[in-house]
C-alpha cells in the first residue's frame, strides 16, 4: 500500500502521526516530511487510519497500488479493459 503525500496541503495538525508514528514522520516544525509513503505489511490498517485522520485531506490512499508495483511486462495493458 502506498500513501500519496500532498505536502503543500499539510498544515501540521499531526493527527496522522498521532495514529501511526512509525508511518508518518514529521519535521521539527511538526509538518509531514515530503515524499509518498510505501507502507509495510502489518502497518496498513494503522496507516490508512492515519491517512483518514488528516483534517486538511493532505494524505491520499493510492487507489491503484497494484498498477504501480506490477510491471507492465507481467501485466500487459490489454488485460485491463
Amino acid at each position: 500500500m502506498r500513501i500519496i503525500v500532498h505536502k503543500t496541503k499539510c498544515q501540521g495538525h499531526a493527527r496522522c502521526s498521532a495514529q501511526a508514528p512509525d508511518v508518518f514522520k514529521l519535521d521539527d516544525e511538526g509538518y509531514i516530511l515530503p515524499g509518498d509513503i510505501e507502507v509495510a505489511e502489518g502497518q496498513q490498517l494503522l496507516a490508512s487510519r492515519g491517512a483518514r485522520s488528516c483534517p486538511e485531506r493532505a494524505l491520499e490512499l493510492d487507489p491503484t497500488p497494484a498498477a504501480r508495483v506490477v510491471p507492465d511486462a507481467i501485466e500487459p495493458r490489454v488485460w485491463r479493459a
Binding site: G12, A14, D28, E29, G30, P55, E56
Partner: protein, 405 residues
C-alpha cells in the same frame, strides 16, 4: 448595538435571521446548549448572510459546510485574516502575530514559532502541565466536595501553563487571572484597561529579556531572526499578546464543556474513569461536539462562492461549531460518541493558521481530564445550580458547580 444595513450586493433571499451573537441560545443561558442551537443551520443553505454576526455588529457571510470552510480557510490569498482586532480596540494598528498576518509574511513567523509548540516540544512541557493540574485538583479535593470548575480549576490551570510557557513564576498567578478575566469577560471599561496592562506587561518583559536573556519563550523571540533581521518591538508584542490570549479561554472552555458533559452523562464518566486510555479519543470527540471558536476572514477580491456574490471587503465566518455538526462530514453529528474514529473536526481550524497551540491544548485537555477523573469521585452538576453557557465569537461556560458529596 450598531444596526447594519445589509449591503446592496447581497440578494435579500440570502439573508437569514441567524447569528452566533443574537440567535436563541446564544445569549447567556442557564443550562443552555449553544452548540446544538447553531447546528440548526444545516437544515438550510450552504452559505447565507447574517446581518449581525460580530462583536461590533457587522454582518458576515456564514459558511455552513465543513468542506466549504476548508476551502475558505485553506485559501488565505482570497480570504485574509488581516484585521488588527486587539490593537484596534486600543485605537492602534498592529497585527497579532501570526494570526493577523497573511502569507507570505505569515509563513515566516509561523516557521519561527512552530518548533516552540511542536508535538516534540509538547512532550517536554508535559510534566509541568501535569504537575499544575495535580496541584490544583488536590487543593480542590482537600477543600470540600464541590467547586466552581471554571474559577477553581480550568482558568487558573490555563493561565499557569501560559506563565510556565513564558518562564514566569506562579506567584503572580492571581494577578494574571485577574487581567485575563477583565480582558476576556470585562465590560467596555475593564476590557481596554486590561488590554493596555497586558501590552505594557509584554513590552516590559521583552525589555527585561533583552537586558538579561534567560532560557525562555520571550528570550527566544527577541533573539530570533526573520529574513536576516531581529524582530521589531511591535512584532514581539504582537506575538506575546496573541500567545497570552489564544490559550486561556479556549482551553478552559474545552475543559468546562467536557466536564459539564461528563457530569450529565454518568455512564461515560464511569467508563473514562475505569478505562483512562479512552480519554485521548474522547477528548477529540468533546472538541468536536463543543468547540469554542468562530473564525472570521475578509474577502480580498470579489468571488462567487456556492452561488453567493462575496465582494471585496465582506466578512466571511467559518464557525467550528457549525462545521463540526455537518452531517455530510460526521455521522450523527449531534450525538456525542466518545469512541468516534476518524474524527477530523475543525476545532483548531483549517489551513495555514491552524492553531499553533493545538498540540499543547490537546495535552492540557487530556491531562486535565485524566487527573480530574483520577482524583474526583463521581460528580454531578450541583442541585439547584445551573451552568451558564454563551455563544458569540468564543463560546463559553460559567458557573459550572460540580458536586461529589
Amino acid at each position: 448595538m450598531t444596526i447594519n444595513a445589509v449591503p446592496d450586493h447581497v440578494p435579500p433571499e440570502m439573508v437569514r435571521d441567524f447569528s452566533l451573537f443574537t440567535s436563541p441560545g446564544m445569549a447567556s443561558t442557564p443550562n443552555g446548549d449553544p452548540h446544538a442551537a447553531v447546528a440548526c443551520v444545516h437544515a438550510g443553505p450552504p452559505i447565507f448572510y447574517s446581518p449581525y454576526n460580530t462583536r461590533d455588529g457587522r454582518g458576515t457571510w456564514v459558511i455552513t459546510r465543513a468542506a466549504d470552510q476548508r476551502r475558505v480557510l485553506q485559501d488565505a490569498e482570497t480570504f485574509s485574516s488581516h484585521r488588527s482586532i486587539f490593537s484596534s480596540a486600543l485605537g492602534e494598528n498592529w497585527p497579532m502575530i501570526p494570526l493577523e498576518l497573511d502569507p507570505p509574511a505569515h509563513g515566516v513567523f509561523r516557521s519561527l514559532l512552530n518548533p516552540l509548540l511542536s508535538p516534540k516540544r509538547v512532550v517536554v512541557l508535559e510534566p509541568k502541565v501535569r504537575e499544575r493540574a495535580i496541584t490544583l485538583i488536590l487543593r480542590i479535593a482537600a477543600s470540600g466536595t464541590s467547586c466552581d470548575v471554571m474559577k477553581d480549576f480550568a482558568f487558573p490551570f490555563t493561565v499557569s501553563i501560559f506563565l510556565r510557557l513564558l518562564g514566569l513564576p506562579d506567584h503572580r498567578l492571581d494577578t494574571f487571572v485577574g487581567w485575563a478575566k477583565d480582558l476576556l469577560h470585562g465590560d467596555d471599561v475593564k476590557r481596554p484597561a486590561a488590554a493596555r496592562t497586558i501590552v505594557a506587561f509584554i513590552d516590559e518583559l521583552a525589555t527585561k529579556r533583552r537586558k538579561e536573556p534567560v532560557d525562555d519563550f520571550m528570550t527566544f523571540i527577541i533573539q530570533a531572526q526573520v529574513e536576516g533581521r531581529r524582530l521589531t518591538e511591535e512584532e514581539v508584542r504582537g506575538i506575546g499578546v496573541l500567545v497570552f490570549i489564544a490559550g486561556l479561554d479556549t482551553v478552559a472552555a474545552a475543559i468546562g464543556f467536557g466536564l459539564a458533559y461528563l457530569a450529565r452523562n454518568i455512564k461515560d464518566q464511569d467508563l473514562l474513569r475505569r478505562e483512562p486510555d479512552r480519554i485521548v479519543l474522547a477528548a477529540e470527540e468533546l472538541l468536536r461536539a463543543y468547540p469554542s471558536v468562530q473564525i472570521i476572514r475578509v474577502a480580498t477580491k470579489d468571488i462567487d462562492f456556492e452561488g453567493a456574490p462575496i465582494r471585496k471587503g465582506d466578512y466571511v465566518s467559518c464557525a467550528a461549531m457549525i462545521a463540526n455538526r455537518d452531517p455530510a462530514e460526521f455521522e450523527c453529528p449531534n450525538t456525542v460518541d466518545l469512541a468516534r474514529e476518524d474524527n477530523r473536526h475543525a476545532a483548531f481550524g483549517y489551513g495555514p493558521h491552524r492553531c499553533l497551540g493545538s498540540h499543547l491544548a490537546r495535552r492540557e485537555i487530556v491531562i486535565g481530564l485524566e487527573e480530574w477523573l483520577a482524583r474526583i469521585p463521581a460528580f454531578r452538576i450541583q442541585n439547584a445550580t445551573a451552568p451558564i453557557t454563551s455563544g458569540g465569537h468564543l463560546f463559553g461556560i460559567e458557573n459550572l458547580i460540580l458536586d461529589w458529596s
